[in-house]
């Protein structure tokens, strides 16, 4: 009955996904502001909501770093963010399976665009601008954490991820950086890979750029991927009355990315235009001045 199995390579475990309310904004009905997150399982292309998660807990880290906990009911978690800003969600599920303590984790960042006026007054006045989703601190209540670092980009848009960006990750166990844990990636298009860490422990890969042949010129194209890491530990203990002799951590992180701006922009032309304008303008000025100059400066004046 329990459908939680050890995730194998190319087959993701669980992840969190923000469910989009359909047709919410058509009728002019005011939004409640509530966010609903579902627990999903399967491959990125084909997945289902897991309705029967027992012992599943979601931690919500609010913008002011306070942490609240919620039980998962019917494969869903709902919460109403108060402030404008980013909320980091962490899902945790523990179960002993065949003598192994399976700890299934997932994390998701939700950016809330609205907030109550009274609560967010101060924040609104302040105008917090550094709300980075990258390189956050390891989340204390969880022993194992997967953290997205600032991506390396070759284009101009900073807000989101795009194909072609190099995304680095870091893995932590109890606050310590893990240096030899690989990462598995699965894309919506079916591309999967296993990424080995570099010497300093960063696991990074370039989001493949050939996954959207039809949408070369479409900026709004968006694609999902799930990044996942697993970590095994020889530890024994008792959880929920069952003894275990090993711990298996797995953490997933769903991300979405767009088509690379590099597909529809030209830097060379940009520079050429700017330089061309400069040349034309400065030559124009030069000749204008030469024509206007009446005093025979060379002979009688000297700027030295």
């Amino acid at each position: 009955m329990v459908s939680l199995t050890v995730p194998s390579f190319a087959d993701t475990s669980l992840w969190l996904e923000e469910s989009k309310k359909k047709g919410c904004c058509k009728g002019g009905e005011p939004e409640s502001g509530a966010k609903t997150v579902t627990i999903r399982k399967g491959t990125v292309q084909e997945n289902t909501i897991v309705r029967d998660v027992r012992n599943g807990v979601v931690y919500i880290r609010e913008t002011d770093n306070t942490i609240t906990q919620q039980k998962v009911t019917n494969g869903e978690v709902s919460f109403t963010p108060k402030y404008k800003g980013s909320y980091q969600l962490f899902f945790e599920h523990k179960e002993v399976h065949e003598g192994i303590l399976e700890v299934t984790l997932s994390t998701l960042r939700i950016y809330n665009k609205e907030g109550e006026i009274v609560d967010s007054l101060l924040k609104e006045v302040r105008g917090k601008t550094h709300d980075s989703q990258y390189g956050r601190e390891p989340f204390a209540p969880l022993p194992f954490d997967l953290i997205l670092q600032r991506p390396i980009k070759r284009h101009h848009i900073n807000c989101c991820l795009y194909s072609g960006d190099i995304v680095p990750f870091k893995l932590y166990y109890r606050g310590e950086l893990l240096k030899n844990v690989p990462l598995s990636v699965q894309m919506e298009t079916g591309w999967t890979n296993r990424i080995a860490p570099s010497e300093d422990g960063t696991v990074s890969f370039e989001i493949p750029r050939i996954t959207y042949p039809k949408s070369e010129k479409e900026k709004k194209h968006s694609e999902k991927m799930v990044v996942e890491a697993a970590y095994d530990l020889n530890e024994s203990g008792v959880y929920g009355g069952e003894a275990y002799h090993g711990v298996h951590y797995v953490m997933s992180m769903p991300l979405s990315f767009g088509a690379s701006p590099l597909e529809y922009e030209s830097k060379t032309l940009g520079f050429a235009t700017a330089v061309g304008v400069m040349l034309v303008f400065s030559l124009g000025l030069y000749y204008h001045r030469r024509r206007k100059r009446k005093t025979p400066k060379e002979i009688y004046f000297d700027e030295e």
Partner: protein
């Protein structure tokens, strides 16, 4: 016994007359007033040397005649020449000039023309630049040229508010600089102009220091002495002038600390405006100060207007320095030749306020049309401000002395009464 009789040449006769004019004024300055200033001795000597003994000061240097204050002395100094301001106050020269100009001309212009006509200089200008300021000076250039002197006109606009004027004047100054540069066979450079601007700026700062003392309740220097100091700058060696004024400043400092007052306790403080008193035509200033009043400030082109406004340079490069010098001589100028003269009226009011003046004496040369024409508007403005003003017309002849004294004394007396009533 035979005595040798030499017949006096016209030059000698003129010089004798001029020396008499000069020495009588100098003697009056030296002897008629209490608490003489020691360091004024330099200026008395200098005037005596130049105007009584006719000793040249600038032998071996190119001397550039200027017909008005608008010819930038900074550029002249930068090109290693000496500016000689040709505005003249001698009655002797006025008489010579009278034969060459219309009867009702300005005595200053007549005297200047007369000076050239007699060709009797202590430092004869090698070339003269004449800005087209008032009609009489503008036309005088050509007359002087007819005596065989080189006179170059420098176009000067008669409005200063417009953009065109500003550009026109900047171009005029540039072309003046080119002509002078050609004449001198020397380039105008960034460093020599910068040095000259700063030097002239220092000269102006010294003048401002002198005037500061005149704001005191006890005024340590006479108005006529101040006119003498500023007049000396017309022809003096700049470095020696600076040295002498520096000494004067420190002496005045001491006098101010000691509370020396060259005037009486109740002497009315006069702001002097109008046609410029130029040595030795100190007729009106002398009458004023001999009538127990004291000139604490003036608004004339032989003194205040020459030194008041300083050039501000934003970028110390030639292009900006030349423009800056040009603007200084146009924008700050309160000469009545301009169409609008609010600035002059505002300047007089400001002088009355900051020097706590009791009254204004407005003197115009008979024949100085622009000052005569402005008289009404200035009088009206002073009336509005509640400032007593006396308007006097005079010329270089010594004849009206008695009548002028009566008028000035009456005015001074009324100011004294007014002061008493206020108390």
């Amino acid at each position: 016994m035979e005595t040798e009789h030499t017949i006096e040449t016209p030059h000698q006769r003129q010089n004798r007359h001029k020396a008499m004019e000069a020495i009588s004024v100098l003697n009056a300055l030296k002897e008629d007033f209490k608490f003489p200033i020691q360091s004024m001795g330099y200026f008395y000597d200098r005037f005596e040397k130049v105007y009584c003994h006719h000793e040249p000061l600038h032998e071996g240097k190119a001397k550039i005649g200027t017909m008005c204050i608008q010819i930038p002395s900074e550029i002249i100094y930068a090109l290693d020449a000496v500016p000689i301001r040709l505005c003249n106050g001698f009655s002797t020269d006025d008489e010579i000039g009278s034969d060459l100009l219309p009867q009702k001309s300005c005595p200053l212009v007549k005297a200047t023309v007369g000076w050239f006509a007699s060709d009797n200089f202590f430092d004869k200008p090698d070339i003269t630049f004449s800005p087209t300021t008032c009609d009489q000076k503008t036309k005088a250039g050509a007359i002087i040229e007819s005596f065989g002197h080189t006179v170059i006109d420098v176009g000067f606009p008669r409005t200063k508010e417009s953009e065109e004027s500003r550009h026109y004047w900047r171009e005029s100054v540039k072309s003046f600089a080119v002509k002078l540069s050609k004449f001198q066979g020397k380039k105008l450079t960034r460093s020599n102009l910068e040095r000259a601007i700063k030097k002239v700026g220092y000269v102006q700062s010294l003048y401002h220091k002198l005037t500061e003392f005149r704001k005191n309740k006890a005024v340590p220097i006479l108005g006529v002495d101040m006119f003498l100091v500023t007049n000396a700058f017309f022809f003096d060696r700049i470095d020696e002038w600076i040295g002498a004024v520096e000494k004067l400043v420190s002496e005045l400092e001491r006098r101010a600390n000691d509370g020396v007052n060259v005037a009486g306790k109740a002497s009315p403080r006069i702001i002097y405006t109008g046609s410029p008193p130029i040595f030795p035509n100190y007729k009106i200033p002398l009458i004023i100060e001999q009538s127990d009043a004291i000139i604490v400030a003036d608004e004339t082109c032989s003194s205040n207007r020459m030194f008041n406004d300083m050039a501000a340079v934003d970028e110390w490069n030639l292009y900006d320095m030349i423009d800056s010098v040009s603007d200084k001589y146009l924008k700050g100028c309160t000469c009545p030749i301009f169409t609008q003269n609010d600035d002059r009226i505002r300047r007089i009011i400001q002088l009355v306020r900051s020097y706590s003046g009791d009254g204004v004496i407005y003197q115009a040369f008979a024949g100085c049309q622009v000052y005569e024409m402005e008289q009404r508007s200035v009088l009206a403005a002073m009336e509005r401000e509640g400032i007593p003003i006396l308007y006097i017309e005079s010329d270089y002849s010594p004849s009206q002395h008695g009548q002028l004294t009566t008028r000035v004394e009456a005015f001074v007396e009324s100011l004294k009464n007014r002061k008493r009533k206020k108390k």
